[in-house]
Amino acid sequence: DAGVTQSPTHLIKTRGQQVTLRCSPKSGHDTVSWYQQALGQGPQFIFQYYEEEERQRGNFPDRFSGHQFPNYSSELNVNALLLGDSALYLCASSLRTGWTDTQYFGPGTRLTVL
């Protein structure tokens, strides 16, 4: 049973560029959440997608956007990259149960903005 997968593993961009990160959830999961983990810090919630809609959003600017596809996979897009966007971006998937959804994480995409 494949777990959560993310691509690419590493990415280097320059300021002002745009980036797209991809995530495939664990088999049987229908909800995808994205987190940003800056160096030396705990992950911070960006947003969550369920039924192809953004359901919850953390304290991130509109430069961060996403999408969920009918097969439950998801993309995270970041426009007008800033140096401060350099971080490990983690995708987590879960099955929405209406109770405490346990989230399972992928290995992450390391984004470096120069």
Binding site: V4, Y35, Q41, G42, P43, F45, Q48, R55, L90, F105
Partner: protein
Amino acid sequence: AQSVTQLDSHVSVSEGTPVLLRCNYSSSYSPSLFWYVQHPNKGLQLLLKYTSAATLVKGINGFEAEFKKSETSFHLTKPSAHMSDAAEYFCVVYGGATNKLIFGTGTLLAVQP
């Protein structure tokens, strides 16, 4: 609002000795709590979770945690540390209706031979 506080940023133990990683939580209702582990350059792995069933929760790799409401604590323990336990550990509270996880700042565990 829910939050967690990890009381130690770094913990160092010798191989074969007990591990104690401390976490206090704040929640306006009965919380759901987790411990995740992150090995260098890797994603997060779920160690264990508490969801108001038994207060002593057993996880993978010999770890366990005890939910103590009177102390608002959820400390992670292991009787005997192994070199492979060296990693960063995050105490996490579930954000309820927001469906998000709220992470502590992490505890870096070093295991000395």
